[in-house]
């Protein structure tokens, strides 16, 4: 209580302490002295130290746990002990055989058929045939633009990820513009799905390969944008790359997009 009254006194004198004019009031007269400053220091520093300790304890917790785990004895599970006891060399042989067998099983999953891998982060592609890389290069994939036309009308221009299959192949494809293509350009959307305004020729390059849900692998007029995420979800390839992909992949071939 004594400290508090001292502190009050010091706080009351504080303006005078900072506003000394011509030495009329000396620092000694208003300075509260050790009796007050020390408790103030204690009252301020203790919570600060406590807080820092608290925070550092949380931060250091994973390290402390790891340090304690180091001293933990190794866990063994006697209940799993085997009944049989063949010799070590025999066991090693059996174990090696098991691994070899599993290796063979897993190797069967490697694809000998032609397939395409599309990397949407780097906007690159790799074409494989007979397990060998036959072509690689740049492509363009979804721009991640969310087009908001108000209400329920929203489109996300993202290339789907996962394993797809080629569902159809077309030469000299024609683009049937979906609604978002008109909305994006500020044009009125034609009422009919087969309206002539929807059809655009020559914009998809020489070939198109469908991978389902309206997504295509096709060519582009904007070759300089290859390697960048600029599409509405389709995969765009350069002319020569598209031709090679078109010739290599068959209907049913796998396309891996990630």
């Amino acid at each position: 209580m004594e400290y508090i009254s001292n502190l009050k006194l010091w706080l009351l004198n504080l303006p005078g302490f900072f506003k000394r004019k011509g030495g009329q009031e000396s620092a000694e007269r208003t300075f509260p002295g050790k009796a007050v400053l020390l408790p103030v220091l204690v009252y301020v520093s203790v919570p600060v130290i406590f807080y820092l300790l608290w925070v550092s304890m949380f931060t250091a917790l994973p390290f402390m746990q790891e340090a304690v785990v180091k001293f933990k004895p190794t866990l063994t599970y006697p209940e799993f002990a085997s009944q049989s006891n063949p010799g070590p060399s025999e066991l090693l042989f059996l174990q090696e055989n098991r691994v070899k067998k599993l290796d063979k099983i897993y190797a069967r999953f490697s694809n000998r058929q032609p397939y395409l891998i599309v990397n949407t982060s780097d906007n690159t592609f790799n074409l494989f045939n007979n397990g060998k890389l036959v072509r690689e290069g740049l492509c363009s994939t979804g721009s991640f633009v969310l087009l908001d036309a108000g209400g329920e009308q929203k489109w996300m221009f993202e290339t789907p990820k996962g394993m797809m299959r080629i569902q159809g192949k077309t030469e000299s494809p024609v683009w049937r513009k979906p609604d978002w293509a008109f909305i994006e350009e500020g044009l009125p959307v034609p009422k009919h799905h087969n309206s002539f305004e929807r059809y655009e020729y020559g914009v998809l390059g020489d070939y198109a390969l469908s991978i389902g849900n309206g997504y295509l692998i096709h060519g582009t007029l904007y070759q300089r944008l290859l390697g960048m995420p600029v599409t509405h979800g389709c995969v765009r390839l350069g002319d020569a790359d598209l031709e090679k992909v078109f010739q290599t992949l068959k209907v049913g071939s796998k396309v891996y997009i990630f």
Binding site: E2, F50, F58, T59, L61, Q65, E66, V68, V69, K70, K72, T74, L75, T76, Y77, F80, A81, S82, S84, N85, P86, P88, L91, L92, Q95, E96, R98, V99, L102, D103, Y106, R108, F109, S110, N111, Y115, I117, N119, T120, S121, D122, S143, F144, V145, L146, L147, D148, A149, Q153, M156, K161, G162, M163, E184, E185, G186, L187, L225, Y256, F258
Partner: protein, 273 residues
């Protein structure tokens, strides 16, 4: 000594005892009990199932260390292969973390579609304290990603309002393609069966992106702190979950984080030495 001074001394003593008590409570509930209770258990519940992986535990009693080490290597390989074969049943993108060869890869139905070298990695001491045969059994079934946190968005979205007419469409500034290459890439995958994978970019973050790194670290600490406080307030001990820290190329980290789907399968092979 005055009465008030005596009171103050007592208050100080009581406060000191309370502080010590809290510290002891904190240490017991967050370190001692969780570490004591920690045990990697076989995920197999049905002991009569013949398809489950049962490493031949006779190795445990083998005295020859060199043979035992070879056996452990083989058992870990078998376990990893079993986990990968199990993952081929799914046609979505899965993640394989092979710390024996330091390779992190994306696979779909057994086909590696992307792989990168793990530059450095650090695994919890908890693994060294577990019987390798039980560990192999634990790893023989693929994990599933429960929760993920990252310093970058999983799906980067560029918002664009549709123009009202062609004039507005013409006047709209051409949107720059997404370019978040400067953003630091740190992510954390919390797997079912209590395992955490922390991936971080190998490169030191650029000066401009330090703020993002700090924000991510602060967020992670906040989540951990909330979890601890939640446990402590309920008088229940926290859980010790072993972690694996892996440093990979920044570009690869971005690719992997964005490629793996929600609830992705993860196969892990731990180093045997």
């Amino acid at each position: 000594m005055t009465e008030t001074r005596k009171d103050l001394v007592w208050i100080k003593r009581i406060a000191f005892v309370i502080a010590l008590g809290l510290l002891a409570y904190f240490i017991t509930m967050t370190i001692v009990i969780p570490v004591y209770r920690f045990k990697i258990e076989s995920p197999v519940t049905n002991a009569s199932d013949k398809n489950i992986f049962r490493p031949d535990l006779t190795w445990q009693i083998t005295v020859n260390d060199s043979i035992k080490q070879r056996a452990i290597d083989l058992v870990f390989s078998e376990s990893f292969l079993l986990s990968k074969i199990e993952m081929t049943k799914s046609d979505s993108i899965s993640l394989t973390v092979n710390l024996q060869d330091s390779v992190v890869a994306l696979v779909v139905q057994g086909l590696t579609i992307y792989s990168t070298k793990a530059k450095t990695f650090k695994i919890s001491h908890a693994f060294a304290k577990t019987d390798p045969f039980i560990l192999a059994q634990w790893l023989a079934i693929p994990f599933v990603v429960d929760t993920h946190y990252a310093s970058i968005p999983k799906v980067p979205v560029l918002y664009k309002k549709a123009p009202k007419d062609t004039i507005e469409a013409m006047s709209q500034v051409e949107m720059d393609p997404l370019n978040d290459e400067i953003d630091p890439v740190y992510f954390r995958l919390e797997l079912d069966r209590k395992l955490i994978l922390n991936f971080n970019q190998e490169e030191a973050p650029e000066k401009e992106s330090m703020r993002q790194v700090k924000t991510y670290q602060r967020r992670m600490r906040k989540i951990e702190r909330h979890d601890i406080i939640d446990h402590l307030s309920r008088f229940s001990p926290t859980e010790f979950i072993p972690e694996i820290h892996i440093s990979i190329d920044k570009k690869a980290a971005r690719v992997i984080y964005r490629a793996i789907p929600e609830r992705a399968f993860v196969a892990v092979q731990l180093p045997t030495e």
